[in-house]
Amino acid sequence: MEASTKKVSVPALVAVFAWLLAALLLSGCPFTLSLPREMVNLSTCPDWDVDRVSQEAQTFGLATETATLECALAVLRAATPAPVHQSATVTRVCFMLANRESNNQDRRERLAAEGVRWAEIALAEGTQDTGAVHYYLAVNLGLAVVNHVGLAVKNLGRIAKALKISVALTPSLEQGGPLRVLGLLYLMAPPWPQGIGDGDRAIELLASAVKQHPDHPQNHLFYARALWEVEEEDALDQVEAQLNLTRVSLAHQNWDPVRKDWDLEILELANDAEIVLAPAPGPQK
């Protein structure tokens, strides 16, 4: 539903701090991580060194404990000299942690800002993972500025450029992550003539994500959303089909940590489009 009622109360100091923080991260200062970080008690972490973290990071996913991710980040942060050769790993871990901070905007933005800086370092160092690093640069930057309208609009072009590179180099990363996120960006950005928003391009990218990676629920969910936003009633059958496919793929145990949130998004879109969905399938192994 579009209509909403809310009570607004935003401490101005927090907003000013966030703007300053974002200005810092966007100012560019290679190889200097001057952003504030919280301390993690390494004594409670596994006895990992940088190489071990890099190895373990290959298995990190939605099911990975947040404490494990925090330990990995703490090890990488504490390394001397700074593990610039692992920058691609750090920017990914930063994003994974930032993305989980849905209730703490300040921490989410700090982690995302740190992820942006590590991505910049990785690119400056000539990383081998150019496509992946551009992807994590884009998604971290998105999280860092999404709640600051001026910065968000200002950085749309940079985010889109990074995503286009990742679409070209690593379209299958995170089961179609570059296609999925660039598609959503085109859907949500201010449309022509004010901005880069392009509903047709969004549908094209998300259809591709669905076709190539049908097991990722968000590919179906974002595609359904794009169809509804762009084609409206003309695509109701397709929207319903994609929402049902979202539920089917979401039933897999891989998605246990996010099932509740994404189910809510499915219901919101179904409600908006006045679609009555069949009961969701139960969790599957």
Binding site: M1, E2, K7, V16, N147, W192, P193, G199, D200, V230
Partner: protein, 283 residues
């Protein structure tokens, strides 16, 4: 639907909701209608919050309790409007339709590139139709078709009733409609001034031509419910908005939305439109 810039309409909504909370008041209801847009309420929240934080600092407004309602649907906008919010950002059509019943009073207009008006045009493919008469019974698309009464009376000035004259094919996205026009899937598309000015950015612009141009219509701004707001509420709102584009932070926001300044409503401008609304009957 009437406005030069839907993003501007949204901006005005943010501005209004941030400035209208009086000290010690229980709160004011602010309705923000973004008709024709594809913004969801939850997606608008960050923009609303950012704007609030900046604008509260502009006038030293205390943190207050503000009840806001946001919708991008014309039907929902009308439903919410019937609940009589204190202030609202509406399309010109909804304003004219509800002005008398809800005692709505325009307060402020934005000025963009020296203009406070908007003009609509019907675009066609070159060599297919040169005027409205040649488009009778043809398909008309675009994002400005959700208020046929407004189109009939104001945009087409009573010359035609678009609901029966055309096959209306509303779309939330102008670019999509224009691509369909270029591909021959639509016969005509209605665009506003900003979209017309942006045609040069499109690779198929040379294929299009103008079959109809409306009169210049005033930009929509903030409107107040005269029954539910005091003269002091309205004066304070006007004063704060007037300072917006000269404030250090507010100036950046104005620049972001290409707004030069906000000007008090010239009552004569709206009087003329109101008279036309009353006099012109759709055919």
């Amino acid at each position: 639907m009437k406005t030069e810039n839907r993003r501007l309409l949204f901006f005005l909504g943010l501005l209004c909701l941030c400035l209208a909370a009086p000290v010690g008041a229980k709160g004011l209801d602010i309705l923000i209608c973004y008709p024709g847009g594809s913004v969801r309420a939850q997606d608008a929240k960050p923009a609303l919050d950012s704007m609030i934080s900046v604008l509260e600092s502009i006038g030293g407004w205390p943190q207050g309790t503000i009840r806001t309602q946001f919708t991008a649907r014309t039907k929902q906008c009308q439903q919410q409007l019937n609940k009589k919010p204190h202030f609202a950002i509406l399309s010109l059509g909804l304003f004219l339709q509800n002005r008398e019943a809800l005692q709505l009073m325009p307060l402020v207009q934005p000025r963009i590139e020296g203009s406070t008006t908007d003009t609509f045009r019907v675009l066609t493919r070159k060599d297919t139709a040169e005027n409205l008469a040649q488009l009778k019974g043809k398909s008309l698309g675009g994002p400005w078709l959700s208020e046929p009464e407004f189109l009939a009376r104001m945009v087409f000035d009573g010359q035609i009733d678009p609901a029966s004259y055309f096959q209306l094919k509303p779309s939330r996205r102008a670019l999509r409609a224009l691509r369909k026009l270029a591909q021959g899937k639509l016969d005509a598309v209605l665009v506003n001034q900003m979209q017309y000015d942006g045609l040069a950015l499109l690779p198929f612009a040379a294929k299009l031509s103008v079959a109809f141009t409306s009169q210049a219509l005033p930009q929509i701004g903030v409107v107040a419910n005269q029954q539910r707001t005091s003269p002091e509420d309205r004066r304070r709102l006007l004063q704060a908005i007037s300072a917006m584009c000269t404030h250090e932070q507010g100036k950046k926001l104005c620049e972001l939305f290409s707004i030069e300044t906000f000007v008090p409503v010239n009552e004569k401008v709206y009087e003329a439109v109101i008279q036309r609304w009353k006099q012109v009957q759709k055919k």
